[in-house]
Symmetry: C2
Subunit: 295 residues, 2 copies
Amino acid sequence: MSYIITKAESVNKALDSAVPLREPLKIHEAMRYSLLAGGKRVRPVLCIAACELVGGDESTAMPAACAVEMIHTMSLIHDDLPCMDNDDLRRGKPTNHKVFGEDVAVLAGDALLSFAFEHLALATSSDVVSPVRVVRAIGELAKAIGTEGLVAGQVVDISSEGLDLNDVGLEHLEYIHLHKTAALLEASAVLGAIVGGGSDDEIERLRKFARCIGLLFQVVDDILDVTKSSKELGKTAGKDLIADKLTYPKIMGLEKSREFAEKLNKEARDQLLGFDSDKAAPLLALANYIAYRQN
Amino acid sequence: MSYIITKAESVNKALDSAVPLREPLKIHEAMRYSLLAGGKRVRPVLCIAACELVGGDESTAMPAACAVEMIHTMSLIHDDLPCMDNDDLRRGKPTNHKVFGEDVAVLAGDALLSFAFEHLALATSSDVVSPVRVVRAIGELAKAIGTEGLVAGQVVDISSEGLDLNDVGLEHLEYIHLHKTAALLEASAVLGAIVGGGSDDEIERLRKFARCIGLLFQVVDDILDVTKSSKELGKTAGKDLIADKLTYPKIMGLEKSREFAEKLNKEARDQLLGFDSDKAAPLLALANYIAYRQN
């Protein structure tokens, strides 16, 4: 775990300098408010760990790591909007639009979205990473956001509200999670491996690893929602049941959900077998952390 | 003018194939609704003309040309939102959120924003354009969108509403236009020149050209608003006066505004002096079209 914490701290510092407070003040305040609001920094740490696994340095991966966190933050800001999920709180703080207004929240998301590409394109060291790899990384990041990624997941999620469980099945639920959660985790690992100089085979194994832990994360989240109290979770337990949200326990039952989580964790770990086991340790820890967390 | 019309038709075809109708249907319908809603295609035509001016082909510039139009469309969709300018009509058609809902409109904008980068990165011919140039183009495009471009212009524009004319001056008005209008025109010309293989000097001259016509466009717009009838304009005349919007005639008077327009047109044309005059003809026509249009 100390690897994850150390890297997360480096990421926080890098994000702080990547988006300094400058004119126009309001928009930069809004961007920084959500970008520096804490969070586990799972995506950037995954990006850095993937880069190091294939032989690259933390500094080489840092612009890509910051870029994926900017995208994650953008998606939270836009998803929280009144016209979307209409959330007032995020990580215990008022959501972006509650503090800065809806107009600025939309624009802060747009600015983070474009700045992610700017940062990836211009801050990645051209001495270490060839421009061919930077272009490839940009293509991967873009795919994870648009209608093959986050946007696809959110639009299908929105249009699923109120649907009968008989109308939609496991495949539908998996589509949403693969796009809303796994796509950006996948891009995080893939970007790290690309800028780190990984081979095509290494890149694809890290892609599969990240996809597995993306689904794993969601399955565990759904299980915790029905098995833990609100106090243990630090948020409202049973929220998904009340909101009539599609969850794994609801579709396949609790026992089968647990088996599925175990299967995903094993599949994820299997992708790391070909790598040096010392170097793969941080990613292994990340998978186990996701699988066995209690809140 | 036939150059502009011919190129605009090529752009329309390219946009139609770049964003095909596919699953999830709703989001692609929303993207296509606004992207293919017509419009003069000034930005993509400028991009292609700049590319051809420095010796490149239309096909080389087409992905960049489509990308700048995607960004322009995204900015219109988000600016029209109820929380922003709250517009019901755009080019005589209901705005995106009126047809698809606010949630889908936000997501359609996000998807167009990320797809612009994906398309620029992956569809630009790597046989013709070096990856170094593609990365540079991506950086330029991103800057034109974020807090040094469109977003900066929109956020300052929003916070200027209701301000007294004595509080803000010409500089303030110019800041808004340079960011809201000129930045993306600038990027359009610069991207064309970059992918077309232009020298740094050529790229910078085309940047200045585009910045001048960006301001010119706005000055002429403001003049037409006070001098033409609604019938001549095809939209409500005097709208800016009623809405108490900042305009050039309001700040410097009508005569000085006309002189300023003439000065900007000359400055724009001066940037083209070093180029082959036959090849520069389309850009010259574009500048004159903007300067002398009657609606």
